[in-house]
């Protein structure tokens, strides 16, 4: 089954860019596992939530707001798409992600197929 892992980081945390992540052993160990086991199906490191714009339409009016949601303590820092046998495997993988271990969280969401 395919799952999207939403990698969530506390809002106040340091914001690591792709280059920093590529050199950080906590992340490389995880990335190596995903690559070696051939589980990866795509993904992206996202710009911080401060750069996000949310679009909502009410009637004919397009409403924009700054940031993803109001009052959130975490923001989505990136997404990983993986293909594994079942939820237990997806949970096992997510639990080894540095975000899950370091004060953030990982939401595991099955892909609608």
């Amino acid at each position: 089954m395919k799952y999207v892992l939403f990698i969530c980081t506390p809002v106040a945390d340091e914001e690591l860019g792709p280059e920093e992540i590529a050199e950080d052993s906590r992340f490389t160990a995880y990335a190596d596992e995903v690559r070696e086991r051939g589980l990866g199906r795509g993904g992206a490191r996202l710009r911080p939530s401060t750069d996000a714009t949310t679009v909502r339409v009410q009637g004919d009016e397009v409403l924009l707001s700054d940031g993803p949601f109001v009052d959130t303590k975490e923001y989505i820092a990136g997404i990983d798409i993986v293909e594994v046998a079942d939820l237990d495997e997806a949970i096992a993988l997510a639990s080894r992600h540095p975000a899950a271990r370091g004060g953030g969280s990982v939401e595991v969401r099955p892909v609608w197929e």
Binding site: M1, Y3, A85, D86, L87, D88, A90, I91, V108, P110
Partner: protein
């Protein structure tokens, strides 16, 4: 009145088979078809057919095997009619055939046991919300109807129905595997399963006046499921510990509330009315569990319950032993409630003053500020020291916090005693 005793016998046989075999039939059908709703539907159909066929042909020697085979055949029929993809159908047919036609001589329990264990672990998967785990366990393993479960948990029927639908949908859509978890996950997952069974039991055990029969049934179901688990996982001491704990608590069920619906404390309960076989079985299970040398919170709680239920009189209770066990328990479950219980035991073993000192610590920490048993315990210790005015004040505080009628009545009675002393 009863013109057809044979028909009555068959009805009893079907009712007994329902209690014993429902979970196993559903579990096997889920494995074979991968479809939870179809599995339940076919199991129901098999039990309905049993009523007719057993009247005509007699009760089979292995009712469970008969029911499973009948349900499997029904599932194949339904899938054929739905014109399910040929591949899936073949798969199901192979699975059904692989297990062979119903033959009472060659029925092997191994596969059946695995199926039920699979079902327990899937219903109690930690990715499901706890209420859904409990509801799903009662529905699929114990065969309770949705209205029965809703009634037992005091929620509207529609709410319970939705909870069950959502849980089954999540199992399917999120890819929750139908299996006993691999060895490295087993300890933590087993703890979750035991937690669900303990919760079931406590839902039924909570003392309320005019105890509702259906809630009492929850105790019986929890014990029955714990027995299944103990049979399936005989090497897991905490599983035996939980079953022992449930039996030892349940042994006192008839003496906890008097005819007027008033709460009767352990001290005042009629020990001759305790269910002796349940006490003996619980004590023997606990001993078998402890021999394995891997203690855990359920074994320790069972040991505490055994100290109470095996004492011949309230005075002969070994409170020092109980205080020690609560100390042990606190290492596994570092909760304020456990420490409150330890304070009670210490108060009995070393005198009320020693208990009161521990209560003072808990009051200072403030974790139990809204828990009526904290002031109630303080009140009891003060009462036993003869400090009745202070005790009355503490009973008053406990009464502000208590929510259960039986407990409220008890506290009011004690308050009146203190005031008139």
């Amino acid at each position: 009145m009863n013109e057809n005793p044979a028909a009555n016998d068959v009805e009893n046989a079907v009712a007994a088979a329902f209690r014993e075999e429902w979970g196993q039939v559903v579990a096997t059908l889920i494995r074979v078809t991968g479809d939870w709703d179809l599995a339940e539907e076919c199991a129901q159909d098999a039990f309905a057919q049993a009523l007719d066929r057993w009247r005509r042909d007699g009760v089979p020697r292995r009712p469970g095997a008969w029911l499973t085979t009948t349900a499997k055949n029904r599932a194949l029929d339904v899938l054929r009619r739905q014109a399910v993809g040929a591949e899936k159908l073949r798969e199901v047919a192979v699975l059904a055939r692989h297990e062979g036609p119903y033959d009472p001589e060659f029925e092997d329990d191994g596969g059946v046991q695995d199926d039920r264990l699979r079902l327990i672990f899937t219903c109690c998967h930690p990715a499901l919300p706890i209420e859904a785990r409990v509801a799903l366990t009662l529905r699929t393993l114990a065969g309770l109807t949705t209205p029965e479960i809703a009634h037992a948990f005091l929620v509207p029927e529609a709410t319970m129905a939705q909870r069950l639908v959502r849980a089954k949908r999540k199992i399917r859509n999120a890819g929750i595997p139908y299996r006993v978890p691999p060895a490295h996950l087993l300890p933590e997952r087993t703890t979750g399963v035991l937690g669900v069974l303990y919760l079931l039991f406590n839902e039924g055990y909570a003392a309320t006046s005019g105890a509702d029969l259906l809630r009492r049934n929850l105790c019986a179901e929890a014990i029955r499921l714990a027995r299944v688990l103990a049979r399936l996982m005989p090497d897991e001491p905490e599983v035996l510990g939980l079953l022992a704990l449930l039996l030892l608590h349940d042994a006192r069920r008839d003496t906890r509330v008097d005819e007027a619906g008033q709460l009767v404390t352990l001290e005042d309960q009629d020990r001759t009315a305790w269910d002796r076989p349940a006490v003996d079985e619980g004590a023997a299970l606990l001993e078998a569990a402890l021999r394995r040398g891997r203690p855990g919170p359920y074994q320790i709680q069972a040991a505490i319950a055994a100290c109470h239920t095996t004492a011949a009189t309230a005075e002969e209770t070994d409170w020092a032993d109980i205080a020690g066990l609560y100390g042990e328990l606190a290492r596994f479950v570092p909760s304020a409630v456990v420490r409150l219980n330890r304070a009670v035991a210490v108060g009995m073993a070393e005198g009320p003053a020693a208990g009161l000192a521990l209560i003072a610590e808990l009051e200072q920490e403030g974790d139990l500020a809204d828990y009526h048993l904290l002031p109630a315990t303080r009140a009891d210790l003060l009462r036993r020291m003869g400090r009745t005015a202070e005790a009355a004040e503490a009973y008053g505080r406990a009464l502000e916090l208590v929510e259960n009628d039986a407990e409220r009545n008890f506290l009011e009675k004690r308050l009146a005693e203190c005031r008139s002393a």
